[in-house]
């Protein structure tokens, strides 16, 4: 799920080649593959993901659409296979995100998964997730995915309250969510639901209703995101014009605390700031890999990748993406090699978000000195730090994770 604003970077070579330093640890580092499917039936007002409606892309005659997507993705997988070379390990996680991946026929999603399997192999216990909009799945399509090797579906539930769904411009109604979740389970896959809180007009009681509805579905995993007003979205324009109120930090804090309370009570434990899972096994390993800084290759328009301290991102527009691959070139738009300091900053930035915590030993001097103050201010769990030498955030600390990171990194 790449954000639509691409950072500036250095030029990326048209061969997609990586420097030897980035490849040095490929064999011994877990490899994930992210597949970005940039299509949606309509664009939701709050969303700034790199996604396009079919009309925006020019209809059936377009150079790339739902029918030709899998072919383009396979070309990029060829490139990835060549660049990573024979040392690349079997893939341990696959995540198909969007946009709306389930706008592709299940057959096409399976084709892409098969493509990955053929080129890299899949680890025996590989986690294979796809995002799904509640409206665009059927029991049949889900069964087809399960049969093809998918193990997990993440359903975009967002809310169980009609007026909130309406404000978010979601097309689905609460019943569709229940149906999609049930069908996923029936097909033998794990299921996760995504929720959004802080939507303008959402009361604390509305949010409680959404949480209770989510819990009642008994998913394996719940993600709960505070609504971000992303620049350039319709929502941002509405907030600017004063048509809808901006989300309020205090309100979001209340809602986060409520989420943690209700989810914990229902047996879901937090393992990342915005993610809760029914068990250790139910955590999303693909996402954990992002936060642990391992290797992943992002396939698709605008997808981001990270291999051995090199980050790059693809051209955003699907036609430009297809054209590059058609010409035998890498679709990478730009890239950046991380300095040691940047890698350290990222490790702290991402590691503190996890319930497993950041080993205190990983902190440099000034960071380590900051820990005592963070414990004193109730932001970091004291016993965990003493007992396990790990820096784990308290509930208050989770809400103020940015402050914690600043204090750890302030030199």
């Amino acid at each position: 799920m790449p954000p639509s604003a691409l950072p500036d970077g250095d030029p990326a070579p048209s061969t997609g080649e990586l420097p030897p330093s980035a490849l040095a640890d490929v064999a011994s580092t877990d490899l994930g593959i992210y597949v970005h499917v940039p299509f949606c039936t309509v664009r939701c007002g709050y969303c700034d993901f790199n996604t396009y409606t079919l009309t925006e892309l020019g209809g059936p005659g377009a150079s790339i659409g739902v029918d030709s997507y899998a072919d383009a993705a396979l070309l990029e997988l060829d490139l990835a296979c060549g660049v990573l070379g024979p040392a690349a390990p079997p893939v341990s996680t696959v995540f198909v995100g969007g946009g709306t991946p389930t706008m592709l026929r299940s057959r096409d999603l399976v084709t892409v998964l098969d493509g990955i399997r053929q080129r890299f192999g899949l680890a025996p216990d590989a986690e294979v997730t796809t995002e799904a909009n509640p409206d665009s799945v059927t029991p049949e399509s889900l069964r087809e995915l399960a049969d093809g090797g998918f193990t997990r579906v993440s359903v975009g539930m967002q809310s169980a309250v009609p007026h909130v769904l309406h404000t978010l411009e979601r097309t689905h109604d609460p019943e569709n969510v229940a149906r999609a979740v049930a069908a996923t389970k029936a097909a033998g896959m794990q299921v996760s639901v995504d929720l959004i809180y802080g939507t303008p007009g959402e009361s604390l009681a509305d949010w409680r209703r959404s949480l209770e509805a989510a819990v009642a579905l008994e998913p394996d995993h719940v993600s709960a995101y505070a609504l971000v007003v992303e620049e350039g979205t319709k929502l941002a324009a509405q907030v600017r014009r004063g048509v809808v109120p901006a989300p309020e930090d205090d309100d979001e804090a209340d809602k986060y605390e409520l989420a943690d309370e209700l989810l914990s009570a229902a047996g879901y434990g937090w393992y990342e700031v915005s993610n809760w899972a029914r068990s250790q096994r139910a955590r999303c390993r693909h996402n954990v890999a992002y936060w642990a800084g391992t290797n992943w290759w992002g396939v698709g328009p605008g997808a981001h990748s990270h291999v051995g301290g090199m980050r790059w991102w693809n051209v955003k527009h699907p036609s430009a993406y297809a054209a590059r691959l058609g010409a035998g070139e890498s679709p990478a738009h730009a890239r950046e090699g991380l300095t040691d300091e940047q890698r350290y900053d990222e490790r702290v930035l991402l590691g503190t978000r996890l319930a497993d915590g950041l080993p205190v030993a990983d902190l440099r001097g000034s960071g380590r000195t900051a820990v005592a103050g963070l414990i004193a201010d109730g932001l970091v769990d004291g016993p965990a730090a003493l007992r396990d030498s790990r820096l784990v955030l308290t509930l208050r600390g989770r809400l103020l994770a940015d402050t914690v990171v600043h204090r750890l990194l302030a030199s």
Binding site: M1, Y225, V228, H304
Partner: protein, 617 residues
């Protein structure tokens, strides 16, 4: 009509009777510089290709703001009835902050053109400058300008002018600096009516320094008006106040660029270059004489302009402090009115307490420091100077609110000004109400004509330098004009309002205000800070206090959430870049106790809402 002079007279060889020295004085924006443009063109010293509007406003800042800040002298040839004359014209600024520039220029002239916008009539600085010219015994030529404007009422204002200066309305010349109409007859009138300079050509030289400017390439350029004797290239000269001698490396006239000459004789206006690097060695008001044949008595100098408002200037980046010092030293070379001394602020670090002639002057100095020296500055709330007497008789001179004593104060006195407001009579009520609010005392009122009044007030300087002018303009639909000059001190009921963040006083935000206005100031500043200071991990009370009495309070609630909810593949770079930016931003944070205050908050809290640039007209 006179033709353009066929050939100009050579400096140092021009008999005084062929010289006319005059300046153009007026209310701000009445068209002095534009009239000067036409004179430059008609006399042929600037050809039409090189011409641009307000040619003599050479500084970027003058051109951008469309106002004159520095006087400029130009020598121009003019022929009348077959005789060629040399005219020295000085264009002066109109804004009240720069009145001292006008005074200096007047001392180099025998005559003044009093220019009045024919659509506006007489305004406050018209009067102020007229009185200055009369004190200097100058011959005055009244001229109505902008007669091309449809709204011009030359007959009406000719009568007003005649009544003011004496003489007949018909004597008043009518010109348009825009079209050039009437400017040739005006030049003829200058030759006919203004007295020629007189002086003793055989006496030791005496030349008055009326301006001194530092130029990066040429060093100090000194502008003089020769009264007696003459100055010649390569001779040694003496500055009479310091007895310092210098060699004249170059001497010449401005026409309108510097033109070296064989010297300067009686009545002439020109420049000197001696190679000195510091204008303090060539001070405005000093008298220059020949080293070989020194004069015994100087010409009597000018009073140095006195700073009226003070403000602290601090570099946003503390490491720029030495650069700021150097920049001030350089700027001071061209700006005698600028004074400064180092000071430290608990909140802002090292900086300078600077004295200015007014808010426009402050703004211009600050802008020049930022632009010409590439500095980012914070300027603190401007204030005037107070004299505090303690119960034990101790006297304290306060130029910075933080120097205001804590103990038993028996009396505080503040500077006052004698202000003149000119406006159509329908606004008398509105003006009186405003002056009342500003603690003014009406001293007198006169009708200049049937519908135009002059009101004279004594007002505290502190009330007038800030938003008084904007308010005056808005209450009189722009018709009133204002002039003021210092008029001593008065005892007043003044208190210091302190602003406390989490119980700690922040010197940069405190102010000395009248007791009746303390509450309003406290509420305003506390409210502003509440919006400007980001929420912290803990609650931050903001209080305004007089001594130990709290008069206003606000609260910044503790922040509860700052974490970005989602953080996937592509978000990571974004987030790290944000973090890197915030780390940079941290360096721009000032700690007040435990409270992090961004520099921007200081800048925004201290910026006055009405900026002085708008106070032109």
């Amino acid at each position: 009509m006179s033709p353009m002079a066929r050939s100009a007279l050579a400096p140092n060889a021009t008999p005084p009777d062929l010289i006319r020295n005059f300046c153009i004085i007026a209310h701000i924006d009445h068209g002095k510089s534009t009239l000067a443009d036409r004179m430059l063109q008609l006399t042929g010293v600037v050809d039409s290709r090189a011409m641009r509007a307000q040619y003599l406003d050479r500084m970027d800042i003058e051109r951008e703001r469309g106002i004159t800040i520095k006087s400029q002298a130009v020598r121009m040839p003019w022929e009348l009835e077959g005789t060629t004359y040399a005219l020295n014209m000085i264009d002066t600024p109109g804004h009240v902050d720069f009145t001292y520039e006008v005074s200096r220029s007047l001392a180099a002239c025998e005559g003044a053109i009093l220019l009045v916008d024919a659509a506006q009539g007489i305004e406050a600085q018209t009067l102020a400058n007229l009185y200055l010219a009369m004190e200097n015994d100058l011959t005055i030529i009244p001229v109505l300008n902008k007669i091309d404007l449809p709204a011009a009422q030359p007959e009406k204002y000719a009568e007003e002018l005649a009544k003011l200066i004496g003489g007949e309305p018909e004597d008043c010349l009518k010109v348009s600096g825009k079209t050039g109409e009437g400017v040739e007859p005006l030049l003829d009138t200058i030759v006919r009516q203004l007295p020629a300079p007189t002086g003793d050509a055989s006496a030791p030289a005496r030349a008055m320094i009326f301006d001194s400017v530092y130029d990066t390439y040429r060093g100090v350029v000194t502008y003089v008006r020769v009264v007696d004797g003459n100055l010649n290239p390569r001779e040694r000269i003496v500055m009479m106040s310091t007895r310092a001698t210098h060699e004249l490396l170059e001497i010449g006239v401005i026409s309108p660029e510097p033109v070296p000459s064989k010297g300067l004789g009686v009545g002439e206006v020109g420049y000197l270059i001696t190679g000195v690097k510091d204008v303090r060695q060539s001070r405005v008001g000093d008298t220059v004489t020949n080293a070989s044949k020194p004069a015994s008595k100087d010409l009597g100098g000018y009073r140095d302009p006195k700073p009226m408002v003070f403000s602290g200037l601090y570099p946003i980046d503390g490491s720029d402090y030495p650069d700021l010092r150097e920049a001030l030293d350089k700027l001071k070379l061209n700006d005698a009115a600028l004074v400064y001394e180092p000071e430290t602020s608990a909140a802002l670090g090292f900086g300078f307490r600077c004295g200015f002639l007014g808010l426009l002057h402050l703004e211009i100095v600050r802008e020049r420091l930022e632009r010409e020296f590439n500095l980012d500055l914070i300027s603190t709330q401007p204030n005037v100077v107070y004299d505090v007497t303690m119960d034990d008789g101790k006297q304290i001179h306060v130029t910075n609110p933080s120097e205001f004593p804590e103990g038993k104060v028996s009396e505080v006195s503040e500077p006052v000004v004698r202000a003149t407001v000119l406006a159509p009579s329908e606004f008398v009520g509105a003006i009186m109400e405003l002056c009342q609010q500003k603690r003014g005392n009406l001293r007198g009122m006169d009708y200049l004509s049937e519908d135009r009044v002059e009101m004279r007030y004594t007002l505290p300087l502190a009330e007038i330098v800030f938003d008084f002018f904007d308010q005056l303009k808005s209450r009189t639909r722009g018709y009133a004009s204002l002039d003021y000059e210092p008029d001593g001190d008065q005892v007043a009921d003044l208190v210091k309002v302190q602003i406390l963040l989490q119980g700690e006083s922040v010197d940069a935000f405190s102010a000395i205000v009248h007791k009746d206005k303390a509450y309003a100031y406290g509420v305003m500043m506390a409210g502003k800070l509440k919006d400007l200071i980001p929420r912290q991990q803990f609650e931050v009370p903001i209080q305004a206090a007089i001594g130990s009495r709290i008069i206003a309070r606000e609260n910044i609630r503790a922040i509860r959430k700052d974490v970005l909810a989602k953080c996937y593949g592509g978000d990571i770079s974004r987030k790290r870049k944000l973090l890197e930016k915030q780390k940079e931003g941290k360096k721009r944070m000032k700690m007040v106790g435990r409270v992090e205050v961004p520099q921007e908050a200081f800048v925004a809290a201290l910026s006055s809402d009405g900026d002085a640039g708008k106070t032109k007209k």
